[in-house]
């Protein structure tokens, strides 16, 4: 077995696609219809295009417990998932310029530096740089 996919719940797939590609810089890899306006929509990192895919999953719209869980995480400020970066401060500066909102500014935590932003699709996402 191989780990090839992680999924994050999003309220609006098209809005999420725009945020994750235009602001975060991910690339669309797969996009196919699943019926009812839903899509199998995955993204990859530009510098690791054969790496794991990120599935933008419209689960909160179809499964209430997912929405409840996502809302609870958001309310408490917990990240749904995290992405690695070489330079948290640089990404923070770039994303703030693009009006992305951060709940945790670049902060050193021992051997890592982290920051947390709102993906506008229902999730907090953490950036992590290994120091």
């Amino acid at each position: 077995m191989k780990v090839t996919l992680i999924s994050i719940p999003v309220r609006d797939q098209e809005k999420a696609l725009k945020f994750y590609t235009e602001k975060l810089g991910f690339l669309k890899k797969k996009d196919s219809p699943l019926g009812g306006g839903n899509r199998w929509l995955t993204l990859v990192s530009p510098e690791w295009q054969d790496g794991p895919e990120l599935l933008l999953e419209p689960a909160p719209n179809h499964f209430e417990p997912c929405k409840v869980f996502q809302d609870a995480l958001m309310e408490a400020g917990y990240p749904y998932t995290q992405f690695d970066t070489d330079d948290v401060q640089k990404d923070y500066d770039r994303l703030v310029e693009l009006d992305v909102e951060f709940s945790v500014k670049p902060t050193e935590m021992g051997t890592v530096k982290i920051a947390v932003f709102n993906d506008t699709c229902g999730n907090n996402i953490q950036l992590v740089e290994t120091l």
């Binding site: 408490a76 917990y78 120091l131």
Partner: protein, 131 residues
């Protein structure tokens, strides 16, 4: 303050309160990153920080979650993937990243990456041609 911020503060106090240890282990990690192609071992690393190799091993594992050896191997494999993707031969890549024999490099690469260095390189080339 969000629940997550409180948790971060708690983790910092419990796990990351020893600044001297953290600075030391970050310097060791940086030394590995800057000398990955050389004959690195615990004796060499412990001399850079003037601490015992057993203490070094314990500290590194505590703060990075893996041993210096595991970290070094991951670093060498990451670098070897870059070199292979840029068209450097398997033999040249093997020695450039610090492995001592083609056999050990190839078998480790296959075990960790899932394909031989040559297969990996061919796949990168064919992908680039298709793009």
């Amino acid at each position: 303050m969000s629940d997550y911020r409180k948790k971060l503060d708690a983790v910092r106090n419990i796990v990351y309160s020893n600044d001297t240890q953290i600075s030391s282990v970050i310097r060791i990690k940086n030394y590995i990153e800057n000398h990955f192609e050389t004959d690195l071992n615990l004796d060499v690393l412990s001399q850079t920080e003037l601490i015992s190799k057993y203490h070094l091993l314990r500290l590194f594992k505590k703060y990075y979650g893996q041993t210096p050896r595991q970290y070094l191997i991951d670093k060498r494999l990451e670098k070897s993937k870059n070199l292979l993707t840029n068209g450097i031969s398997v033999t040249e890549t093997c020695y450039a990243v610090g492995f001592e024999s083609i056999g050990s490099f190839s078998s480790l690469f296959k075990r960790k990456i899932g394909k031989s260095p040559l297969q990996f390189q061919k796949e990168q080339f064919s992908r680039n041609k298709l793009d």
